[in-house]
C-alpha cells in the first residue's frame, strides 16, 4: 500500500450479509476513488484475506455462521495491520465496546450519516498514512546515524570525518580511495545521509561485477525487446537514483565504452534507455570509489583522462587498518559487542594476548577481514572471553611471544619459518637468508624441536 498516492491505493472490504449494504457501501467508496470489494459471510471474507490485501475492513457484527466478533479475531491473526470498523444494525453499546477492546478502530450504526462515514474513512487513512510515514522516517533517521557507525579515533580517520562533513552538504562529485575492505561504501552512505538528498535513494552499482556489454543496460535501463532476454522495460540505476545519489563502487573496472557513456551522463545529466529514444533527464549526485591506482590507469591508457578529472573532484582517502592500528581495539570491541548480542553469546571481552595479536596483525583485508575474523571467533569461542586460539589468524602470528626482546622475536620467527617449510633446513635457510650452518646454530641456541 502506498498511502502517499491517491485513493486508488486504498483497499476497502465490506463484509455484510445484506446485499443492499454491500452494494451501496462498495459503490459509495468506488465513487470516492477507493478500491472496494465485498463479502457476504465469514467464509467469503476469509478467502479474500491475505496480509496487506485490505487497508480498511467494514465488518458486520451480526453475520450468519461465524459472527463478526469471531471473524474480527481471525482477521487480526491473518492481517494485524488491517483497520477494522464494525457495522451494527443494533445500537448495542456492549458489543461495540467489546469489539473496540478486541482491536477494532471504531463502529458505525446503520444507517450511518454520510458525513460521519466520510470523515471516519478519511481519518483512518490519515492515521495509516502517518503510521507509514513514521516507519519510513525512523528508517531514514537510522540512516542519518550512519556516520556514527564509522568507528575511529586515529587522526587519519578524524581527518576523513572532517572531509565527510565538509563535502556532504555540497553536490560535489566525490572519489573515495582505499584498499578493499576499508569501508568505502559506508563512507559513501555517510556522505549521502548527511546531504540534502538524504530523503531520496542512494543507489549502489558494483562496477566490478558488471559484465561487459550489460553495463549500459545496468546504468541506463532498457526498453522491452532491446536485446534478447529483455522481456520487460527496465529502469537503469541512474533513473532509480533520480533526486538522490548514485554510488559507483570499483569504478576503475568499467570498460572503455561504459567510460564514454558515463562521461556523457555526468556532463548532460540525461540519457536514453537501451533500445529507446526517449530522453530521460535525471538529477543525481555522484560518489565513486576505487581500490585501483586510477592515475596509473590513466597513464597506461586504460582509463579516460577526462573522466578521471570529472570523478576526482573531491577525493577522500581511507587509510588501511595497518596504518591506524590505534583504532584496532576500538573496532574489535565494537564488533564483539554487536556479534555477541546478535548471536546471544556470553563473550564480552578479548583476552590480553588476543588483543595483542589483533593489534599486531597487518589485516590485508582491512575491516571486512577483521569483522569476519571476530564473527568466526565468537562462533567457536567456548569461554567467557575470546582467546588467541579462537582467532582465525595465520599461524605465524599465533607464536608472537609475550617477550618482545630481539632474541625472543628471532626465536619465534625461526620457529615459524621452520614449521612453514616442514623443517626442511635448506629451504628454511633460504627463506631466512642465512646459510644452513647458521640455521643449525640457531636451532641449537634456542633449543628448537620439531
Amino acid at each position: 500500500m502506498n498511502l502517499n498516492k491517491n485513493n486508488q491505493s486504498v483497499n476497502i472490504l465490506v463484509v455484510d450479509d445484506e446485499l443492499s449494504v454491500r452494494d451501496s457501501l462498495t459503490k459509495w467508496f468506488k465513487e470516492d476513488g477507493y478500491r472496494a470489494n465485498a463479502a457476504a459471510d465469514a467464509n467469503e471474507a476469509l478467502k479474500k484475506l491475505k496480509p496487506g490485501a485490505w487497508d480498511i475492513i467494514f465488518l458486520d457484527i451480526k453475520l450468519p455462521g461465524m459472527d463478526g466478533m469471531e471473524l474480527q479475531q481471525r482477521i487480526k491473526s491473518i492481517d494485524p495491520n488491517a483497520t477494522i470498523i464494525m457495522i451494527t444494525a443494533y445500537a448495542s453499546v456492549d458489543t461495540a465496546v467489546k469489539s473496540l477492546k478486541e482491536g477494532a478502530y471504531d463502529y458505525v450504526t446503520k444507517p450511518v450519516d454520510p458525513d460521519y462515514l466520510s470523515h471516519l474513512v478519511a481519518n483512518v487513512i490519515k492515521q495509516r498514512r502517518l503510521l507509514s510515514e513514521n516507519i519510513q522516517l525512523k528508517e531514514r533517521i537510522q540512516e542519518l546515524y550512519e556516520i556514527d557507525q564509522i568507528i575511529g579515533e586515529n587522526p587519519a580517520m578524524l581527518k576523513v570525518f572532517d572531509l565527510i562533513k565538509t563535502v556532504a552538504p555540497m553536490d560535489t562529485t566525490v572519489m573515495i580511495k582505499g584498499e578493499s575492505g576499508t569501508g568505502k561504501e559506508l563512507i559513501a552512505r555517510a556522505i549521502h545521509s548527511n546531504s540534502p538528498r538524504r530523503f531520496f535513494p542512494i543507489i549502489t552499482v558494483n562496477c566490478g561485477g558488471l559484465t561487459e556489454g550489460l553495463t549500459e543496460s545496468e546504468f541506463f535501463g532498457h526498453e522491452k525487446g532491446a536485446f534478447t532476454g529483455a522481456l520487460y522495460r527496465r529502469k537503469g540505476k541512474f533513473e532509480m537514483a533520480n533526486g538522490g545519489t548514485i554510488f559507483l563502487d570499483e569504478v576503475g573496472n568499467i570498460d572503455p565504452k561504459a567510460q564514454t557513456d558515463l562521461l556523457r551522463v555526468i556532463e548532460t545529466k540525461q540519457f536514453t534507455r537501451v533500445g529507446g529514444d526517449e530522453i530521460i533527464k535525471v538529477d543525481f549526485r555522484l560518489i565513486c570509489a576505487t581500490n585501483r591506482d586510477l592515475e596509473l590507469a590513466v597513464k597506461e591508457g586504460k582509463f579516460r583522462e577526462d573522466l578521471y578529472y570529472r570523478l576526482n573532484v573531491f577525493s577522500i582517502s581511507i587509510p588501511p587498518l595497518r596504518e591506524r592500528r590505534s583504532d584496532i581495539p576500538l573496532l574489535c570491541n565494537h564488533f564483539l559487542k554487536n556479534f555477541a548480542a546478535s548471536m546471544n553469546k556470553p563473550q564480552t571481552r578479548f583476552s590480553p594476548e588476543a588483543i595483542k595479536q589483533l593489534e599486531t596483525y597487518d589485516w590485508p583485508g582491512n575491516i571486512r577481514e577483521m569483522k569476519n575474523a571476530i564473527e568466526r571467533a565468537i562462533v567457536v569461542a567456548k569461554g567467557s572471553s575470546i582467546t588467541v586460539d579462537d582467532l582465525p589468524l595465520p599461524p605465524s602470528l599465533k607464536a608472537v611471544p609475550e617477550d618482545q626482546s630481539l632474541g625472543a622475536v628471532e626465536k619465534a620467527h625461526v620457529k615459524n619459518v621452520l614449521e612453514q617449510m616442514g623443517w626442511n633446513i635448506t629451504r628454511s635457510a633460504e627463506m631466512l637468508g642465512i646459510d644452513r650452518a647458521t640455521l643449525y646454530h640457531k636451532i641449537e641456541k634456542y633449543n628448537l624441536r620439531k
Binding site: S24, I87, P114
Partner: protein, 177 residues
C-alpha cells in the same frame, strides 16, 4: 430527464438548458413518471434511490444513453441516513433530489436561485458518475464530494480541467453518450 414527483417545471427547464450546455448533448424531458410507493420506507419516510435507479433503467428511451430522475422527495440508501442523489458508476441512470437542497429545511428563508444552482450541481455531479468520473480532490470541481448542502455552494457547476479531459475521453469511448 424524468421528473418524479417534481412539480416545478421552470426549474426543470433551467436544469435541462444547463445540462445541454455543460455536457454538449441534447436533453429531453420525459413525461411518464412511474409510481414511487414501492420504493418508500414507511418507517424512515424516505425513498430508496437504488430502487428508483432500477426503475429508471426500464424507462430509458432507445434514443437516449443516460436517464436522470429528478425528484423533490427525500432519498436514502439503506446503509446511509440520506443521499442527495445516486448514480450508476459508468452506467446509464442517475437520480437527484431537491429535498435536502432547500434552505427552508434548515430554518432559513426560501432561496430559489440557490436551490436552482444546487440542483444543477448535483445533476452534473451524478451524471458525471454515469460517465465514469469519480470524486475529485479539486474543491471547485463539480465532482468534489460533499455531504452538507452548504458545501455544494463552494463548488462550481463545471468540471475542473482534469475531469473535463476525462469526461471528453469517456464520451469518445462511448460516443453515443
Amino acid at each position: 430527464m424524468l421528473p418524479l414527483h417534481f412539480p416545478d417545471n421552470n426549474l426543470l427547464g433551467a436544469l435541462s438548458s444547463t445540462l445541454e450546455e455543460i455536457f454538449k448533448l441534447p436533453v429531453t424531458i420525459l413525461q411518464k413518471p412511474f409510481p414511487l410507493e414501492q420504493g418508500k420506507d414507511p418507517v424512515r419516510n424516505q425513498y430508496n434511490s437504488t430502487w428508483i435507479l432500477s426503475q429508471l433503467l426500464r424507462q430509458i428511451p432507445d434514443e437516449s444513453s443516460k436517464i436522470l430522475g429528478v425528484t423533490s422527495l427525500d432519498l436514502y440508501i439503506p446503509v446511509l441516513t440520506f443521499v442527495f442523489g445516486e448514480a450508476q458508476l459508468e452506467g446509464k441512470a442517475a437520480v437527484i433530489s431537491s429535498y435536502r437542497l432547500r434552505d427552508e429545511l434548515y430554518g432559513l428563508p426560501k432561496n430559489p436561485e440557490k436551490l436552482k444552482e444546487r440542483l444543477e450541481k448535483e445533476a452534473v455531479h451524478e451524471l458525471g458518475h454515469t460517465f465514469g468520473l469519480i470524486h475529485c480532490r479539486e474543491p471547485g470541481c463539480v465532482m468534489y464530494s460533499v455531504t452538507y448542502a452548504e458545501e455544494i455552494d463552494f463548488k462550481s457547476k463545471n468540471f475542473c480541467n482534469a475531469c473535463s479531459i476525462l469526461l471528453e475521453s469517456k464520451k469518445k469511448i462511448h460516443p453515443e453518450g
